[in-house]
């Protein structure tokens, strides 16, 4: 029986990216490798080529069952065994778009086999059955801060003594529908992303990604302190131009990090306005903290990015070296943006931040021990 007074910790965490698991991804990022490749936005139906990072061997086109199920199965192999989905060990499945690719394929082709993979609940139910979990599975979706929200809810059920452990599984795999949406907004275009770099026009890349975190009362080497969520409720696709939304989210994390030497793992998709606002807010909240972003290599893994990048941050601390900002070479948006990798042994915390459509912001302080 776990000690009910013990703090909530991360007992296990992992991810899958086009480079492989968290260790392989960390190694590739240290080498400055880029997983993004030009991919036709409509898959076999063509369209403009835009930067996307797909899992090896996977095409953008939808299939039934989806090709990404194999990746989830692979990731499941590294999740500690347990009675997941039972009342004492609930599961939070988070993502921003899973299912929508199947829905689009169903509409386009009329093939009824897509129906069972065409919505968040049906997708989750299929994954639940595939992995042998019990029924205590919740779905959390809030655009690109979905994973952060799942982590917070998992923390709360443990803190409130409703569970001893909780599993947060987060995944988002690309499809023509999702890519087409970002392309219509013109932020996904022919250019490769250059997070935090000053240039004339912005661009993002998109990436396949999945990750998990097992939260536990008292077990584990990592703590997530001060999980902060703030929604500025300003506009669907833009932030307040004064950066106050970013600042509000980071304020409590900065207070929790006072006295610590931290580095900042930012969201950094490659859009200009949000990048500048994020760097400004981070430099004010965490003076001197190096800022890194990895989406210039991995692309934006959307709703899963919070956990995918948490797993890489943990791997960075374990290995003692933090990968720099990939794709950002050139004049940076702030003096704290770290383009090169750096030794992190003298730091005692990592601030991990993500942002989302709708002016949603999320951040937490990750500490070892």
């Amino acid at each position: 029986m776990a000690d009910p007074a013990a703090p909530v910790r991360v007992a296990a965490c992992g991810c899958i990216t086009p480079f492989g698991d968290a260790a392989a991804t960390h190694t590739a990022l240290l080498r400055g490798e880029c997983a993004l490749r030009p991919v036709r936005i409509l898959g076999r139906e063509g369209g403009d080529a835009v930067p996307m990072a797909l899992l090896p061997g996977r095409s953008l086109d939808e299939t039934t069952p989806p090709e990404w199920v194999a990746a989830i199965r692979r990731l499941h192999g590294s999740i500690p065994d347990g009675d997941w989905g039972s009342p004492g060990r609930p599961v939070f499945v988070t993502g921003s778009n899973f299912g929508v690719g199947g829905l689009y394929a169903l509409r386009r082709t009329g093939d009824a086999s897509f129906a069972s993979w065409s919505a968040l609940p049906t997708c989750t139910e299929r994954v639940r059955a595939e992995l042998g979990w019990g029924p205590d599975v919740s779905i959390v979706s809030h655009a690109c801060v979905s994973a952060h929200l799942g982590l917070l809810l998992a923390t709360r059920v443990i803190s409130e003594r409703l569970a001893d452990d909780a599993l947060v599984l987060s995944f988002d795999f690309l499809s023509p529908f999702v890519a087409g949406g970002f392309h219509a907004l013109k932020i996904l275009n022919a250019d490769f992303p250059a997070p935090y770099r000053v240039r004339d026009s912005g661009a993002i890349g998109l990436g396949d990604g999945a990750g998990f975190a097992v939260l536990s009362r008292g077990r584990g080497d990592w703590t997530l302190s001060c999980q902060s969520l703030h929604n500025e409720m300003y506009h669907f696709t833009s932030n307040r131009s004064d950066g106050s939304g970013f600042a509000r989210c980071l304020e409590p994390v900065a207070a929790a990090a006072r006295g610590r030497r931290v580095w900042f793992k930012g969201h950094g998709t490659g859009t200009l306005e949000a990048g500048q606002l994020e760097v400004g807010a981070a430099e004010r909240a965490f003076p001197g903290a190096p800022i890194v972003g990895w989406k210039g290599s991995l692309g934006h893994t959307l709703g899963s990015c919070g956990i995918v990048e948490l797993a890489i941050a943990i791997e960075s601390v374990r290995a003692g070296r933090t990968p720099g900002t990939i794709g950002g070479a050139g004049r940076a948006m702030g003096h704290s943006v770290a383009l090169e990798s750096f030794e992190n042994g003298s730091f005692d915390g990592v601030v991990c931040a993500s942002n989302a459509f709708g002016g949603a912001h999320a951040a937490f302080l990750l500490c070892h021990g």
Binding site: A184, L185, K186, D200, S201, G202, H235, F236, T237
Partner: protein, 91 residues
């Protein structure tokens, strides 16, 4: 006499964005489209860009280019004359 392209653009803006209280002729040529008197926002811009790309065969490469093209009706007309399919321009 009004420039046919400018007139067509104003009509498209009203139609695409369903601006019920605005007559095309009331839209000034040089007033900012986004954040101006029409109160258009980025979602409106998205809808407009999709329609303009279809109608005039233009390609807008990035959100920054979209913002420049949509600065006002006159700028939009210049952009379409420069980049659009000449056979699709109104005469």
């Amino acid at each position: 006499m009004a420039d046919p392209l400018t007139a067509r653009l104003k009509q498209l803006i009203v139609e695409t964005l369903r601006l019920e209280d605005v007559a095309p002729a009331e839209i000034p040529d040089t007033e900012p489209l986004i954040g101006g008197g029409l109160s258009l926002d980025s979602i409106d811009a998205l809808e407009l860009v999709v329609r303009l790309e279809k109608e005039f065969g233009i390609k807008i490469a990035s959100s920054e280019e979209a913002r420049r093209a949509l600065a006002n009706v006159a700028a939009l007309a210049d952009f379409i004359r420069e980049r659009g399919d000449p056979s699709r321009l109104p005469s």
